[in-house]
Symmetry: D3
Subunit: 248 residues, 6 copies
Amino acid sequence: MHLRIVTPTTATALDGAALEGLRAVLRPTTELDVVMLDQGPESIETEPEEALSVPGTLQRVAEAVRARCDGVIINCVGDPGLAAARELVAIPVVGPGQAGMHLASMLGGRFSILVARGRGIAAMRSLVARYGLQAKLASVRALEIPIGELRGGEERLLGALVREAQLATKRDGAEVVMLGSTGMVQVARRLAASLAEMGVRVPVVDPLLSAVILAEGLVSAGVSHYRSDPTSPSMPAVGASHPSAHAL
Amino acid sequence: MHLRIVTPTTATALDGAALEGLRAVLRPTTELDVVMLDQGPESIETEPEEALSVPGTLQRVAEAVRARCDGVIINCVGDPGLAAARELVAIPVVGPGQAGMHLASMLGGRFSILVARGRGIAAMRSLVARYGLQAKLASVRALEIPIGELRGGEERLLGALVREAQLATKRDGAEVVMLGSTGMVQVARRLAASLAEMGVRVPVVDPLLSAVILAEGLVSAGVSHYRSDPTSPSMPAVGASHPSAHAL
Amino acid sequence: MHLRIVTPTTATALDGAALEGLRAVLRPTTELDVVMLDQGPESIETEPEEALSVPGTLQRVAEAVRARCDGVIINCVGDPGLAAARELVAIPVVGPGQAGMHLASMLGGRFSILVARGRGIAAMRSLVARYGLQAKLASVRALEIPIGELRGGEERLLGALVREAQLATKRDGAEVVMLGSTGMVQVARRLAASLAEMGVRVPVVDPLLSAVILAEGLVSAGVSHYRSDPTSPSMPAVGASHPSAHAL
Amino acid sequence: MHLRIVTPTTATALDGAALEGLRAVLRPTTELDVVMLDQGPESIETEPEEALSVPGTLQRVAEAVRARCDGVIINCVGDPGLAAARELVAIPVVGPGQAGMHLASMLGGRFSILVARGRGIAAMRSLVARYGLQAKLASVRALEIPIGELRGGEERLLGALVREAQLATKRDGAEVVMLGSTGMVQVARRLAASLAEMGVRVPVVDPLLSAVILAEGLVSAGVSHYRSDPTSPSMPAVGASHPSAHAL
Amino acid sequence: MHLRIVTPTTATALDGAALEGLRAVLRPTTELDVVMLDQGPESIETEPEEALSVPGTLQRVAEAVRARCDGVIINCVGDPGLAAARELVAIPVVGPGQAGMHLASMLGGRFSILVARGRGIAAMRSLVARYGLQAKLASVRALEIPIGELRGGEERLLGALVREAQLATKRDGAEVVMLGSTGMVQVARRLAASLAEMGVRVPVVDPLLSAVILAEGLVSAGVSHYRSDPTSPSMPAVGASHPSAHAL
Amino acid sequence: MHLRIVTPTTATALDGAALEGLRAVLRPTTELDVVMLDQGPESIETEPEEALSVPGTLQRVAEAVRARCDGVIINCVGDPGLAAARELVAIPVVGPGQAGMHLASMLGGRFSILVARGRGIAAMRSLVARYGLQAKLASVRALEIPIGELRGGEERLLGALVREAQLATKRDGAEVVMLGSTGMVQVARRLAASLAEMGVRVPVVDPLLSAVILAEGLVSAGVSHYRSDPTSPSMPAVGASHPSAHAL
C-alpha cells in the first residue's frame, strides 16, 4: 500500500531519521512518502499559522487520490483540516492528534499531553473536547522550549520531557504520556527508556507513529471514515468576489 | 462604535433587509458594515468550503483593526477561523455559533438547533462539544432544504422551520430553538410569531443577532477575549516552499 | 428602555459609584434603577440567607412589570430566585451568575471564579453544574476576606484578587477570571489593569456588568426566556395553614 | 430515634395511609411525625410556589432540632431549601429528590422519572444536573395529570403511570423508574405490581420512602452532611429594609 | 431479616469487632453473618486477585438465596462480581463501592476516596466512571501503607488517613471523605473524631457500613435491583472444553 | 510476530473462515492462532457467564507469555478480564470492545453498537462509560436474535443488522456502526456493502478485526499498556479457605 504524509508547512517536511523510524514499524510492502505545502506557513506554532495551513493541506490531500495513495496522514498534532479533508476524499485521512489521543486513552486510566509551549495548552484541550475524551485527560503540560529545539532531539529537550512526564504521573495522575508534537519518534523511545530507568513505567505515545499505524490498519482492513456527502467534488472552487455583491 | 461583519464568502454579503434588521436593534451611534472576501468560496455548505474561507476571513479581521473598527463579527454559524482570529487582534471577535449557543443555553433548559441539511448536523454537534455545551443540547434537526432557499424567507422555509421546531420541543424536549444559519433575523421573528400562534411559546435565537448584541456589549464594557500571545504579529507570513526541503 | 436591578437584601442596594459605572456602559436612553427588599436578610453570605432573600426578590420582580420595566436583573451572583422569577413574568429576568459564567465561557478556554470565602466554593460549583458549564471551569478560589471588605474596593481586596487571579492562571490553567461577587465593576477594571501591568493578560468578567449588558441586549432584540406556563398568575398566594390538615 | 417529615405546604401534610406505609418500613423504635408550614403555598406545582415554600421550611427544620428530632425529611421531590437547611442544622436533613435519584442510580443502568406535568420536566432535569447524575438519566416523562389527582391513587393515575413507565423502558432504555412526586408509597407498590404482571420487571423507586430510609440509616450510623460553617446561628435574621439605603 | 456478607477471599472474613460495629447500627431483628470463599485469593490487592475472587463470590451469592437470606453484601470496595451477582438472584445484592460513593455524593459537594496504595487509584477511578459519578469526585488519594496494616486500626494508619483527608479537603476541595477499603468501621469513626478535633468537619463515609445500611433499607422497603433476565438459572454451567473445537 | 486470540469459552473458538478473514488483513509474517478455555462457560450471553470466563482467560493470557507470543486478543466484545490481564503481563493485551469503540469514535461523529439481545444493552453502555466515550455514543440497539444464529452469517441476521443500522443512522444520528459481537468479520463486510447499495454509506466497525489490527500495531511500534505493578507475579495463587478464619 502507499501512504502519504502531508506536512502542512513549507520549511520542514520530516527529517530522514524520523522517516526511517516510521518505515521500520510499517510493513515492508508499505510505501511511505512525505510532501510539504507549495504555499503555506513556515511552521505551526500558533492558531493563525495552523488555520493558514489548511488550504494547502486540502490540496495535498486531494492530490493524494490522484497519485493513487491508499491513505493520508496530516503531519501536525493539531489535525489541521482533518474534518474538511475527510469530506474531500474516500481514502482514509488520519490525524496524529486524534490517533494519538485515542491510543493513549486505550493504554491506561488517564493520559497527559506534553506540548512545547504554554500557548498551545488551550488549543490542545479544545481538541480533546472536540474528540469527546475530556474524562480521560489528566493534564496538558508545557515544556516551554521553542519548537525549533523540539525537533533536534537534544538532551535539553529530553530533560524537559522527563521532568514534565514525571510531574504528569506524580501530580496529575497520568498513566500514559503523549507527546504534543509530531516528528519525534526517536525522542518518544528515548523518553520511555529514560523514564523506565528511573522506575517510572508509563507508555509514551508518539502521535505521528500512532497515525501511521492507524492508517496502515485502516487501509489493510478496508475501512474508512464517514463522509456526509460522498458525491461531492474533491475540491470546492475558490474564486474572487463578485463586484455586484460588493456594492452592498 | 464601529462594528464590522465579515461574511466569509465571495457571492453573498448580507441582504439589505437583514442588515437593517440588525441595525434596528443596535444603538443609534453604532456603525455596522459588512464586507465579503476577495478570495474564497461562493457559499459555505460543506466542511471544505468552510475551511477554505478561513484565510480570507483572517485577512478581513486583520484589516478591521487598521480600519479602526471596535469589534468584528464572523458571519457564519460555524464560526470559521474564530480561534485563529482571536489570536490575531485585540478587539473583540465574535462568532454567531458561539454567541447563539450560549444565549440559547441561558434562556431555558435545553436547546435545539435547526440546520439546513443533514450533512450539517455532525459539524454543529462538534461545535457544541468544542464549546462544552453538550449537556444543554436537546437535538440538532435538519430542514433538508437547500441553503439557497434558506435566505429567501419563503413560506416553504418557514413551514419547515415550524415543523422541526415543534418536533424539537415535543419529542426532544427543547425549551429554546436556535437557527442554524445566519442572515435570517426576520425569519427568526416570523418563526417565533408562528409558533406563538400555535401555542408553542419558545424563545427563538438568531445566531447573527446574538453575535452583534454580544459584540456591542463587549465593546461598550471594554472587555475582550483571551489571547495566548498578545505580542504576535497580526498576520503570519504565508510563503512558497523551500526547494531544499522538498528534496526529502 | 427601563431596566431594574433588584438587590435581594435590606441593607445594601448598590453604591452610587457602581451604579454610575454601569450606566456609563449602557445606552444613553436606558434607564437603570435599583431597588432593595422590604423584608429579607441584611446581606447574603450563606445559603440560608440566600434562600430567605427569594420571596422578597420575587415580589420585586413582579412589581417591575407593573412599573413597566422592560427587564430585571437580580443583584447577587448566586442568582437567588432566578428560575422562579422567570416563571412569574414575561420580561427578561437576568442573573449575574448565569450571565457572567456564560460570558467567561465565551472569552477563553477555561475560567476561574474568585469568591470571598471558602464556604462559597461549593455553592458556586453547584451553580456551574446546574448551568452545564462544568467542563469550562478551571477552579473556584477563595480570597478569605469578609464580604464587608469586598465592597470597599480597598487595596487589600485588590491585592488578594491579584494573588488568586495569578494562581488561577498559573496553577489552574484559567484563561478568564470572573469575580464571584456583584457590585464591584470598578474593582474588575482595576484588577484587569493590575494583572496587565504584571504581564498577565486575562479578561476579567464582572458578573453584574455582564447581566446588565445581557438584559439590554435581550430587550433590544425582543427575546426573552422560556416559561413553562405563560398563563400563570404573577405571584402565587401564600397563606396560613389549614387547621384540619394540621390535625394529621 | 425521632424523624420529622416537613411538608412544605399549608394544605396537605401526608395522608394517614401514606404515613402508615412509611412507618411499616421503619424500625419499630423509630418515631415518625409530619408537620406542615404555618405560612406558605397551598401546593407546589410551579417554581415560584417551590421558592415560596423555603422560608417556612427552614423554620420547621430549625424547630426540629429544638424538638430533639434526630433527622428531618423535606417532603417534596424538588428538595426545596435542602442546601440551605443543611447549613442550619447538624442533624441529617434529607431530600426525596436527591435520595430517590441516588437510589434509582444504584439499582440499574439508567433511570427515568415520571412527573405529573410537562412543566415539571425542566426543573427535574435541572435537579439531576445539580446532583451530577445526568449520565444515569434515561428520561423525564410527564403524565399530564393535575397534581390533585396524583394523590388519590386512582385507577386513572395508575394507568398513566403504567403507560409512561412502559415507554420509559421500551423507548428510553430505562431500567429503573422513579416517581416524580412524594406521598405515593402505595402507588409505587401498585405500579411495580402492575408492571410485573405485564412482564416489565423494573424497580420502582418512591422518593419519599427513599428519603425516610436514608434518614434512618444516617441517624443509626451517626453520619451527617457537610456544613460549610458549623458555628453559624440556626436561622439568619430577616428584617425590614433600612430607610437610608432606600434613598439611593 | 437475614443479611449475609460475602468476603471474597479465603484468609480474612471480618474481625469480630468490626462485625459488632456493624450490628450495633442495624435493627435488633436483623441477623448478620459473614462467609468467606472456599476457593479464591487470600486477599485482594490487585486487579487479577479481584477477578479471581468472582467465581467463588457468585457461588456464595447463589447459596445465600438457598439459605433464605434476604440480602447480600459483597465485602470489597471494588464490588467484584456485583453486576453478575445481580443477574443471578432476585434478592438485593449490594456493593460497598457503589453504596459508599452514592452516600458520599449525597452528603456534600465533592468527595475524595482514600485508598491503601497508588496502584489502586486507577481501578477506583474506573469504578467511579462506571457508576457515572465522575463530576462528584474531588480526588483519589493513596496512603501508601500495605493493606495488611490497614486492618489493624493502628496509629500509623490513622495518622496517614488524617494527613490525606486534610489534603483532600484543603487541596482537592473535598467536602466528604470515603475510605477506600472495607472492614474499617471503627477507623472511620476515629478518623472523623480526629478531624473534628482539628477543626476539619467533614463526613467520613465507611463503604461497608454504607452497604449494610442500604441492604437493610432495600429489604425493608421491598425493592431490589433490575435484572435483565429474571428467568435465568441461578448459576451458569462451567465445563471443560470440547475436544472437537480444540482442533481448530 | 506471534499474536494469540483467547476465546473465553469452551465450545466455540473461531471458525476457520473468520480466522482466514483476519489473517488476510494482517502482515504475511504475523502468526495468528486461537485458543479456547479448558474450563469455563460454553458461551457468553449473560453477565454471570462473562464473569465466570475470567479465571480461564487470565490463565490463557499468562500462558501466552510462556509461549513467546508478542500480543494477546481477548475474543469477546465485553472485554472480560482485560484490566486484570494487563496487570499480569507486559505484552500488549487488547480487547475488541475497547479497540472497536475507539476506532468507531475516530471514524465519525457518533457511533451506534448493534448487540444481539436487549439484555446486552446495559452492559455495553456500562463498558462505554468505563472507557469514557459516552459523549460519542449515539445508541445501543438490539437485534433480538439468539447469539447462536449470529455466528452463522445467515440472511436473517444480515436483514436484522441492516434494519437496525438504518434506524441507528436515521433516528439516532449515528455516523458509524459497530457490531456488538466478535467473530463476524465477513458479516461486517456484507453489512457495509448492503448499506452502501441502499445509499447508507457509514463505516462498519468489526470489534475483533479492530483488536487484531491494534495488537499488530502496538507490537510493531514497541508500545504496551500501563501496569500498576510491573514486578507482580504473573498469576496470583488461588487456594482453599483457612479453617480458622471460617470459624468467625
